[in-house]
Homo-oligomer: 363 residues x 2
């Protein structure tokens, strides 16, 4: 498994790609698979760790991103012969190595950072097996082997009572994430708002967020670690996720559900796939709709919300989905190569139900 | 041959890496070799052209450097089986593909842009055959197959009379290149200075250069194309190359010599290998030394200067050096692989004398 090296695996704070790589690697090891994780040297894993970068390039200014990425990706592909399948959780760059090895590559597309990287995905569409992280994020030009929603460790989140009397914004401070819209909705709903997350757009933060922060009606608590996040989610009446972009997936959305906290979201990107209206939250079209939903959210059954999160977004479900896909890819590959599947190392799909599409890329 | 895709091959203006790739590719084709040049789509060559990038990323803002570089390098390595040898004129990134193919890779190290890229060269030192572009640029940590000085098309430069009554600065406007020092030397020598080149350091240009530009004693003519460069070199009393860094090679230095124009240089980096004092110019230690050398330069034999440039820095010599090295690498590789050299495609070293070191990297 080739992880991103922007952050450690698992990330100390922000780092959704690294979080997914961690959850998947640990889950596969727990199921008895022989996993090598290519990640930063300070990563924590029960898999075999191979590191070229001492630390994440977003965390250590002495780490040169371009140099370390090149060594990191090459290290994995140079050892391709040792693996039945390569799980690429990195980005587009590993794709250009994929024709040089015979090991099949399954690429989880964590989102298109820009239209400019599409030519690489198109050029290697016949080689790699793409995984979409939501149906909404499937690009019409690409062939996908499956859609696999992310899963989280539901038990890492306490069932919250939602008795803090506040609404919560949890995510990057950026116009895409709708921080300012959340402030407006909380004001109109007559509830305080807690804003938590890293600042990804300084100008927006200074102009649209900070002027409203008064430590009372709007509190900004900065980036939060797991413990504080758990407390904040558990006490919130609802999570406000009023995004202004087609978000491929929202880890904070399913984390909120795991705490029992309903999510009020704009129905963009993957939101309609994640939020079940009236059960785990509401999909709303505008600020008045969101204000109305705040009152309704307080009446939802938080235990049922958490139960739904466990049923649909537990780590075990994601790991089983990937296990099933990897097994199928390895089997197909062996059939093409005309040899047997080394069943000892990658098992067949187990009994855990998965949401793996029937179609594999036609090669 | 894998060229840089910052600019077209050959470059319209600035682009020393692309210039060397062009000169070498054309020279090898002229000697009967079957050459495929991986470069931008607008490149001009007699070799087979393979392009992934429509244009140079420094020339066309719609070209994404990281995406195009990845596709460009992979395209070459995916076709490695078609080639006896890959000539890497790019930079460090192709090295990380080199263990995934069996074709030998000869990497011309055009200079270390930063100490940060050294780990890649170190990690692949046992795989690639490094070529230094001057002995001065050899890094103690690396193994080199040869030092091969760049060559130029001497006949593209007219023998100049040096009768313009001015000194010339030709290069990037940057503290490394000593533009301000050249202005000071010209002032003390009592001669006008013409400054030609692209601005690579805006602040330096505004603070240290522009205040002296009066259109008379100091003229700034911007970047120059081949025709204007030829005229400027031909009319100059001397070229002032008072660099403040260890320059791996100076194409403008040997171009000046080709025009018959002596070079006054600080003895840093490769300068002692390029300038023959009293014949093609002078190596000086400080501003007073440079001022003294200006008077002496006017007395040098410009025909002898040009003759020396032709003897040591003609394109033919460079092409023959690379041809000899490639042949040796291919032969060694075939011996290791236990099969014959395909003599049809890459000939043995010819009769043209070369400056190829006896030592190949020990693999």
């Amino acid at each position: 498994m080739l992880a991103s090296i922007a952050h450690r695996v698992p990330p100390r704070g922000y780092g959704p790609w690294e979080q997914v790589a961690s959850t998947l690697a640990e889950g596969l090891v727990a199921r008895g698979h022989d996993v090598t994780l290519f990640a930063t040297a300070d990563s924590l894993t029960t898999a075999h760790l191979h590191a070229e970068a001492p630390a994440g390039y977003e965390e250590d200014p002495t780490v040169d991103a371009k140099v370390c990425e090149a060594l990191h990706i090459a290290a994995c592909f140079e050892r391709a012969g040792q693996f039945d399948v390569i799980s690429n959780q990195f980005d587009f760059l590993p794709l250009v190595f994929s024709r040089l090895v015979s090991t099949p590559v399954v690429t989880t597309v964590h989102g298109f950072s820009s239209e400019r990287i599409l030519p690489v995905y198109r050029a290697y569409d016949d080689v790699t097996h793409h995984v979409a992280i939501s149906d909404a994020d499937r690009h019409p030009d690409l062939t996908y082997a499956a859609t696999i929603h992310h899963g989280i460790d539901v038990d890492a989140f306490s069932p919250g009572a939602g008795d803090g009397g506040y609404l919560l914004f949890l995510g990057r401070i950026h116009p895409d994430k709708g921080t300012a819209t959340a402030i407006e909705v909380a004001r109109r709903a007559g509830l305080p708002l807690v804003v938590a997350g890293v600042v990804h757009d300084e100008v927006y933060h200074r102009r649209e967020v900070l002027p409203h922060v008064d430590g009372d009606r709007v509190r900004y608590v900065g980036p939060v670690g797991p413990a504080q996040r758990d407390r904040l989610l558990g006490g919130a009446v609802a999570l406000l996720h009023l995004i202004d972009f087609d978000e491929p997936f929202g880890l904070s959305v399913v984390e909120s559900m795991a705490a029992g906290t309903p999510v009020i979201a704009y129905p963009r990107g993957s939101m309609a796939e994640l939020v079940t209206p009236g059960l785990t939250g509401f999909l709303v079209d505008d600020v008045p709709g969101a204000v109305t939903a705040v009152a309704a959210a307080a009446g939802l059954d938080r235990t049922a919300c958490r139960r739904e999160a466990r049923a649909r977004f537990a780590a075990g479900r994601m790991v089983a989905d990937y296990e099933q896909l990897f097994a199928r890819v390895v089997e197909e590959h062996a059939a093409r190569m005309g040899h047997d599947v080394p069943g000892r190392r990658v098992g067949r799909a187990g009994t855990v139900g998965g949401r793996v599409s029937e179609r594999l890329s036609e090669q």
